[in-house]
Structures are given as C-alpha cells and as structure tokens.
C-alpha cells in the first residue's frame, strides 16, 4: 500500500489550513507548499494508477463504515486517470503561477489557498462515491472558482464572477433537489447503492432527478444553454486560472454528469440526448468563437466547443466512444491549458485582451508564440500532434456506430475552428506591429510550465501508446456498471471502534 486515495483530499486541506500559519513564519513557504503537496500527490496518483490498472479498483472507506453507510472514495482506472490528469495540470499551473505577477503577500496567500482548493475540489468530485459529498466538493470548487475569477481588481472580473455565482447557485439548487428526490425514494446517498437500487425508484422520480442532475451538472460541464457564465469567467480570470478551468474544473463537471447518466440511472435515451446537446454546444460555441475580438474569450468558446465534442463522444456510448471522449478530455486539458497560459502572455500588454493587439508579437515573444502555435495546430487536430489521435478515435467510434452525420458535423466544425485559430496565428507571426508595445517576457517558471505542456503534446502526438493503455482501462471501468457496484458494495469490512 503506497498511500490511500483519501490523501488526495486530506493533504491539500491540511496544507490549505497550514498556509496562513506558515505565512507568519516564512513568507516564501506560502508559494512553495502547494507545489510540494501537488508534487507528492502527483507521485502518489501515478503509483496508484499503475497499481489500479493491474490489480483493480481501490475503494477507500471513510471513518470505517462500509459503503452504503459511510462515505467512500473510489479510485478506479477512470477516476484515477482523471485525478492524475487534474493533479498534473494543477502542478503545471502551480509552476506557471509561482511568480505570477508580483502580487503582494496577502494576495499570494489567498491565491494559493484558492488554487489548491480548486484542484482539491475537482479531485474530490471525481473520487467521491457519494452524491451529497460530491455536492460539497462542487461547492468547494465553485467558491474557489468565484473568488479566483474575481481575483484581479482592475478588470470586469467581479461581473464575470457574479454571473458565475448566479448560475452556480442555480446549479446547487438543482443538485440539492435531485439529491432530495433520490433520498426520498431510496434512503441512501451512496452512488453504487443508488445504482444497485435504481430500479426500485418510481420512474417519475427517477426522471425528474435525472433532469435536475443534468441541469445542475450541465452548468458545471458547460453544455449549451447553461454556459453563459463560462466565457466571461474564462476571460476575466487570471491566465493560469483560465487554464485550470478548462483543464481541471470542466473535466470534473463532465465526469460528474457522465457518472450520473451512465452509472446512477438506467434511463433509456440518455445517449441520444448527450449527442444532441453535445452537438448543439459544439456548434454554437464554435460559431461564437469565430468573430471574437478577445483572445481569451475566443479560447473560452473553443474550450466550450471541445467539451461539447467530448459529450458527443460520450454519447456514442460504445467503449470506443468513451475511449475517444477520455482521450479528447486528456488532450483538451493539456492543449487548452497551454493555449491559455501562452495566450495570456501574448495579450498581456493589451488592456482589453484584444486579438488585434497581438500583431507581430512573435518577434518579441518567439518561444511563447511558438508554443501558442503548437497548441493551435494540435487542437485543430492536425497530425502528428496530440489532438489528431483523439479526433481520429472519435471519428472511428462514430463511424463504427454508423453516425455518419456526426462525423460530418464534427469535421465541419473543425474547419470553423481552424479558421479562427489560424487568423490569430497569422496575426502573431505576419502582421506588422502597430506600435511599440511593452510586452511582458515570460518568467522562467512560466516558460518551464508551458514547455512541459508542449512536450506532453509532442509525446502524445508521436507516441500515443504512452496513454492509450490507461484510457482503455478507464473506458472499460466506466462502462462496467456492475463491476463498479460490486467493487464498492463488497468493500464490506465494517471497521468499528
């Protein structure tokens, strides 16, 4: 036993409580501690992941009460994969923001606490096996996200944050309603238990709870009519937080939604529904991105569109489809984070973050521009970079299920995507500079973080086998509902004092 999954939650919480105390003693520790924690957790998640793929799911029981009664954490190949991804992204974002903007000490304390909690909350959403506990983690994530969105005082960040909060409150309302409905019928809150007993629920309860879950979690997963908050929040949050939103938080939201639809209930028609809303999300988001004047807003819309694509892939519902969806999520996390991180340096000098102000900036920021270009090319899905393999697996999955229309739609939307990314690239590289702008050179740690992401893109691009094994294990574990229920409910040792 290397460590237990509960450490993913407990250690960051401990660290978050410690940070203010340590700050009185040694100021630098405030910045260092989160990194150490994340590094340890990264090591832990990688070792656990290796173990889980070979020996099967780890179910961690809290407080010694067996699953239906106590809260449990499930570290399956799927959740493990997402946890590893989130912690990896978190670590990279920490590297990036280690010296981000010479914020003063008080702000740094808050920034790092909130960042750590954002990551922990998302990891908790993925790991937990209890719906109310998931709600609590969603709230942890959301509150950190609200605060981080409003972190900069100079911009319209408070406006974005307030919109986010409004919609987020609606989300928690729907979640609580859904939990109440389920509890009133089954008297249990454990996901595996609910899944095992779902047939006992009256159908109208089941469907209403499902609808509330879809609405509540759809807000976190940014599906179309529910994602009004997303572009604002992405664009107004500090660069690394935008990366964290698209690399960590959305992933957790999509996971939660998929878990509810795939595992919790056995309602027919969910797959088709996922495909439809996924496609709508994809199309509307990409259409909105084309004429966007703000770089980060454009990236935000693109991010929403990509999540739509992920949802479509989940909706295909076969193992290949889920594999493709997970692969898309993985790639999107890496690539979009890179775009946000490098993009925020490209528009650093522009108060409105306008695309038109990146003209010819490649001459001043060659490495950042190169990484941005790499990210753009990869996300459009050009081989031999990472994005291609996920798009390819998505297409074959769709072709296998005879969803030709989806292939056509997805590819035409990719064309739109290509247009707006290349417009930006052309501006960066070929447009004459309008005036002498004071650009901000990236710091060493920012370069390191972006370089790591770029390296990951290349590794996955040239050697996709490095991740596909894990993805296959994960997709099998999502679809094998019976095994999930069995794994959780058979963790029967009733530990008592």
């Amino acid at each position: 036993m290397v460590g237990s999954p509960v450490l993913f939650i407990a250690i960051p919480l401990l660290a978050a409580f410690l940070i203010p105390l340590l700050g009185f003693v040694w100021k630098e520790s405030v910045r260092i501690l989160p990194g150490l924690v994340l590094l340890y957790l990264l090591y832990l998640s990688l070792t656990l992941m290796e173990q889980v793929v070979h020996t099967g799911t780890i179910v961690e029981v809290i407080a010694g009460w067996a699953p239906p009664w106590g809260i449990n954490l499930v570290f399956s190949p799927l959740t493990g994969l997402l946890t590893t991804l989130m912690i990896l992204m978190g670590f990279i974002i920490w590297i990036y923001s280690y010296r981000f903007k010479n914020i003063d000490f008080q702000e740094a304390v808050k920034y790092f606490i909130l960042l750590l909690m954002l990551i922990t909350g998302s990891v908790g959403i993925v790991l937990t096996g209890d719906i109310f506990n998931q709600f609590v983690f969603i709230e942890i994530t959301s509150i950190s996200a609200y605060a981080l969105t409003a972190f900069y005082k100079g911009r319209d960040s408070a406006e974005a944050s307030f919109k986010y909060l409004m919609i987020g409150s609606l989300s928690s309302m729907f979640l609580l309603l859904a939990i109440a409905l389920i509890y009133s019928q089954l008297g249990t809150l454990n996901m595996a238990d609910i899944a095992a007993k779902a047939h006992l629920m009256k159908p109208e309860f089941k469907i209403l709870a499902l609808i509330f879950f879809i609405t509540g979690l759809g807000i976190e997963a940014e599906i179309f009519p529910l994602n009004g908050w997303a572009p604002d929040a992405y664009a107004q949050a500090p660069g690394p937080i935008g990366a964290a939103f698209s690399g960590i938080v959305v992933k957790a939201g999509v996971y939660a939604m998929i878990r509810v639809m795939f595992t919790l209930f056995d309602v027919a028609g969910t797959h088709q529904f996922l495909i439809v809303i996924g496609i709508i999300t994809l199309i509307i988001a990409e259409m909105s991105a084309v004429r966007q004047e703000h770089l980060k807003r454009m990236l935000a819309y693109s991010s929403i569109g990509q999540m739509g694509l992920v949802i479509v892939a989940f909706g295909i519902g076969t193992e290949e489809g889920v594999f493709a969806a997970l692969f898309l999520m993985l790639n999107h996390a890496i690539i979009k984070s890179l775009l946000f991180l490098s993009g925020s340096y490209l528009v650093y000098h522009s108060t409105g973050k306008y695309i038109s102000e990146v003209d010819g900036i490649a001459r001043n920021l060659p490495i950042t521009s190169f990484l941005f270009a790499l990210g753009s090319i990869a996300i459009v899905g050009m081989p031999p970079f990472a994005g291609f393999w996920s798009k390819w697996s998505m297409l074959t999955a769709a072709a296998h299920s005879n969803l030709i229309l989806i292939i056509g739609l997805v590819l035409s939307v990719s064309l739109i995507e290509l247009v707006y990314y290349f417009r930006v690239l052309n501006r960066i590289y070929f447009f004459p500079k309008k005036k002498e702008v004071v650009v901000k050179k990236p710091t060493i740690n920012a370069l390191l973080a972006m370089g790591l992401l770029g390296l990951l893109i290349l590794i996955i691009g040239f050697y996709p086998d490095s991740v596909t094994g894990y993805l296959h294990a994960a997709s099998q574990s999502l679809l094998d509902k019976g095994k999930y229920i069995h794994d959780v409910l058979s963790t029967g040792q009733l530990l008592l004092p």
Binding site: S4, V6, I9, A10, L13, L14, A16, F17, L18, P20, L21, F24, E60, V61, I62, A63, G64, W65, P68, W69, G70, I71, D104, Q106, E107, K110, Y111, I113, L114, M117, G124, T128, D130, F132, N133, V136, F137, I140, I143, S144, A147, A150, F151, K153, A158, S161, L181, S184, L186, G187, T188, L189, N190, K202, E204, F205, L208, L495, L496, P497
Partner: protein, 231 residues
Amino acid sequence: MKKILVLSLLAVFGVYLAEVLFKIDFGHQFFLNGVKDFYLTASPDKLKVANVVTSIVVNFRGFDTLGEVTVLFLATTAMSSILYKGRHKLGERAVLFSSSRIVMTGSKLLFPAIILLGVYVFVHGHLTPGGGFQGGVIIATGFLLMLLSYQDYQVSHVVLSVVESLAGITFASIGLIGLLNGGTFLHNFLHTGVLNNLLSGGVIPIIYIAVGFKVGAELTGLIYTALNEKD
C-alpha cells in the same frame, strides 16, 4: 414580457416538482433498508453518541463536514480576496448605527455570556441539540455584538487566522491519525465511553470542538472583513 416568460417557466417547473413531491407519502418512511436505520442504531450502540445528527455529521459523514468547514474557510478567504484593496486602514469601519452607552455596557456584559453559551453548545454537541456549527455561530454573534457596539473594537487578524488554522489542522490531523491508527480516514480511535456522558463518543467531541473554534473564528473573520469594508 420577461416577467410573463419567467412566470410561465416557473409555473411549469413548479407543477412538475409539486406533482412528483405529492407522491411522497408525507410523514411516513417508505424506503426499505435505508441508511438511517443503521445510523440510528449504530450511533448509540457503537459510538455511544446520543445525538444521532452529531454522529452522522462528525463520523458517518464526517467527510462532508470536513468539506463544509473548508467551504466556510474558503468563503472567508474568498471574501477577503474579493474585497482586498491593499493595506487595511484600521478604524475606518462602517458605522451601522451609533450605539449608546447603555448598549455598550449591555454588550460588554452579554459578551462573556454569549461566548460561554457557544462553548457550551459545541462541547455538548454529542449529547444535546447543537454542536460545532451552532456553537461557532453563537460565538461569532458574540463578537458581532461587540463589533457593532464598539466602533474601535478590534479583533486580531493574527489570532483569528491562527485559531482557524489550528482548528482546521486538528480536524484533518485527527482524520489522518485515524488513517494511521485504524486504517481509515477519520477512524474513531479513542475509547467511546458511555452514552450521555460528557466524555463519550471518542473523537467526535474533539472534532466538534475543533469545528466550533474554526467556525467561530471564520465567521468572526468574515464579519470583520465585511464591516471593515467602506467606500
């Protein structure tokens, strides 16, 4: 127009929700093998905790509480981050109402009583209604009273954050000790004692006291931050 739209939306939503809710047999439990039966027996039997809600909050679903404490902690952090303007200027607190001498004296007298009540509530959390949250909130109201009646009343930020952090660390550490000791996080590793004794329930009262301190400190800090906010 917008009102009509919203009203019709709400009507549909309300009708569907009410329709389903009315199928719940109010006042009767109708699910079999729900988790509550287990809680209701195990709490007095195994944990020796009289207040079942407390044992659920602190032990069976202790993880939720850890998250909840974190939410409050985050709310405080978030609020001070959102309202942060640079260096705090002390003594420029918003004046809600000017307080008379009577009020001042009254508050001064009431303050220790309120704090004592709060402490009582969370120390007896496993026996009587109430617990860490309630006690913490009561403590915070005590401070609120003082802050409102004395304009120059200051609460040390350092003390607040030290108390808050220490309490949080205690909670998380007890969980981790449980992990080391009994194999699971938040494992109740102390002797549970006898039902309805003050010293019963193993780690539950300790955790609840930590929660009490934490909530009290957090809410006080939260109000303090809000009160110090002035255009």
